[in-house]
Symmetry: none
Subunit: 217 residues, 4 copies
Amino acid sequence: MSKSFVPAAPARRRRKEARPAELLAAALDLFVERGFAATRLDEVAARAGVSKGTLYLYFASKEELFKAVIRQGILPVLEEGEEMLAQHRGDAASLLQDLMRRWWDLTGNTPLGGVPKLMISEAGNFPEVARYYHENVIQRVHDLLGNVLRRGIENREFRPVNIESAIDVISAPMLMLSIWQHSMAPCSCGGMEDPETYLRTHVDLLLNGLRAKEMSE
Amino acid sequence: MSKSFVPAAPARRRRKEARPAELLAAALDLFVERGFAATRLDEVAARAGVSKGTLYLYFASKEELFKAVIRQGILPVLEEGEEMLAQHRGDAASLLQDLMRRWWDLTGNTPLGGVPKLMISEAGNFPEVARYYHENVIQRVHDLLGNVLRRGIENREFRPVNIESAIDVISAPMLMLSIWQHSMAPCSCGGMEDPETYLRTHVDLLLNGLRAKEMSE
Amino acid sequence: MSKSFVPAAPARRRRKEARPAELLAAALDLFVERGFAATRLDEVAARAGVSKGTLYLYFASKEELFKAVIRQGILPVLEEGEEMLAQHRGDAASLLQDLMRRWWDLTGNTPLGGVPKLMISEAGNFPEVARYYHENVIQRVHDLLGNVLRRGIENREFRPVNIESAIDVISAPMLMLSIWQHSMAPCSCGGMEDPETYLRTHVDLLLNGLRAKEMSE
Amino acid sequence: MSKSFVPAAPARRRRKEARPAELLAAALDLFVERGFAATRLDEVAARAGVSKGTLYLYFASKEELFKAVIRQGILPVLEEGEEMLAQHRGDAASLLQDLMRRWWDLTGNTPLGGVPKLMISEAGNFPEVARYYHENVIQRVHDLLGNVLRRGIENREFRPVNIESAIDVISAPMLMLSIWQHSMAPCSCGGMEDPETYLRTHVDLLLNGLRAKEMSE
DNA sequence: AATGAATGAGCGTTCATTCAT
DNA sequence: CATGAATGAACGCTCATTCAT
């Protein structure tokens, strides 16, 4: 279309195209902060700078908005992780460390870090969405980490452990960190004040816990 | 019957005294399952076997009911843990293991295990309650675990680690386990299907991670 | 019965017999102060020192309580007024003055003075009660005053006036006085602060207004 | 039609601007007829031809609606009265008569005539509103009548009387007339059937009562 | 006779959703 | 596309009434 001829779409147009993303960002923030039921569409619309009616031009209902919030923008990071796994040639320990670091920088430490809290809070009200999230996000992260662990065990870097449960144990502190940042932390409750130290300790304990003992007796 | 031997509180009376606990149990279940806003008082009352109006004989408002749910019955277990710490004479590793086991049996694996999920979900809407919970539960668990870690480090059982962050890292898998049981698990999502294995793996990784290397080099 | 043999009924019994009157007094106060709908039976019972259930032993419903409040204790004063008219032998002016004074002392200036305000406020919700009150109280007062006026006019003490409307005009300031005392006055609004002066002025203006001019031109 | 000449506010718009007035009119009628507590917002909305939710677009609560009802449209008439006083050059008696006549035509004999009954009925429940009404309406009427009386006394038209209490005595029959029209009268109770006669009698008695005797001994 | 726990219909208020402009 | 006025179903809470004790 002629769009390709105009180097810069008029500001109005640019806003128009950004609308859904702005609405999703506003909705994510509010859903995470207050939960689905306690969030009013009025406020979502206001925060995105549009009227309540406009919201319905882009999302058919509050529930669809919720689903869109969950679906959006999680996969890219995941894909990058899978890419990292595929291309990595070094030891499993440093790969594990890189993956966690990268996740924290790109997801945990951004608004998207609120999604796990949101999904956990609302799973009971939206079981289908929970299943969707589980299959498309959790399961894939699970497989990803599973591969890393398997690789580490295979080359004797890690002790043999129950991989399935180890994955969950390994993920838990990461999840709790992002959950905490979006629930207790904003209430001026202390705890996990320094994510960097927290992550370093987690990695330290974890790699020590996994490391094959050089022998001992 | 032997009933004639007891002064026999009238049936009405006995119900009346049990009501608050029944209502709290019903409310806990539903708040955990659906969140505060999505829980209807009608249903809480129905689940407790009374009418909506009766609820108001015992709790002044939905919010007061919520606060009572959070307050109830968390402290006893905590006190037992503090007792265990005070009386324990063996190594820190087994104390840590015992504490975690006991918590799981008495709290994590009961309806009360839903409280962390509930508190996390609603912290944004009830900051004062979150602070109350933080001070009276989280902080005390924190101190408890801190003492165990310190003791283990002092007698060279554990490596020196950053205690503050290690506490959070250690607690995270326990919390995630109980959270998961009350959010994703009931949606027939897989994951953490076997808490026993999960706990064993956690303890295994953890103690290995903490253990002072008997030598190396 | 044997009751006549016990000189003093036990206190308990005496209370029991006073119950309806105490309940009526409490109900009158509250109905006058807040209106029928805004008065809770809880409070009526509490003010009478009994439980809510007890109220239903004496009055079948809130509405019946209302009717009883209206019926109670208005007639005695009326009867005295009719008695005064029958026995009076002096001039109409002083009879009129005596009647008004007596009404104020025995009714207007007592809790019963709130009844006109109550009846006026609730007439729309209880038309049958309004009609009952009109026929049994208002109408009889009307007739009473009509007789006084007629007598005054007949013996040339008063000018001939339209008796029917004059009665209402004459009553209005009396009614307004008692209404005011039970509505605006308790809100620390000023006005009608001194009922005695108000009454004196009313009588003064009224008798002057009625008095047959000695002639003039 | 000539409609094409006006910019033509869209129909929606025109409704929107009329809504508050329509709602206030409906609320006034029902509050006067049944009292504040017994009036259901459903009915107010229905009478104004809108749904219950719409009411809340214009008034924040039932109580705010009540306050708006009391505030509305009383002052204009008052201002006219004050204007009449300022411009009047004739005798006080005719001014007094004109004021009462005008009040009856513009207020007493319109839906607004129910406001005194409403205010009296609800003063106990809304003391602040009662004070507002007292200061802004009653007090100003009081001052207005006080000036008329003073003027009449100064030019020897009226006898000297206690002005403060005379004002209340003079107002009472006017108030009672409008109160009666909105309480007992609609219950097919008799009394005050002919307001015109009633008013004439009031003026007649009043002016006779006030008039300085041209001589007498 | 007296109690007070229990009820449930009813009302004020909110908010997702619709639709005329 | 965008608006915001209007809707009405739903929910928190109240309170007159009942009834087992």
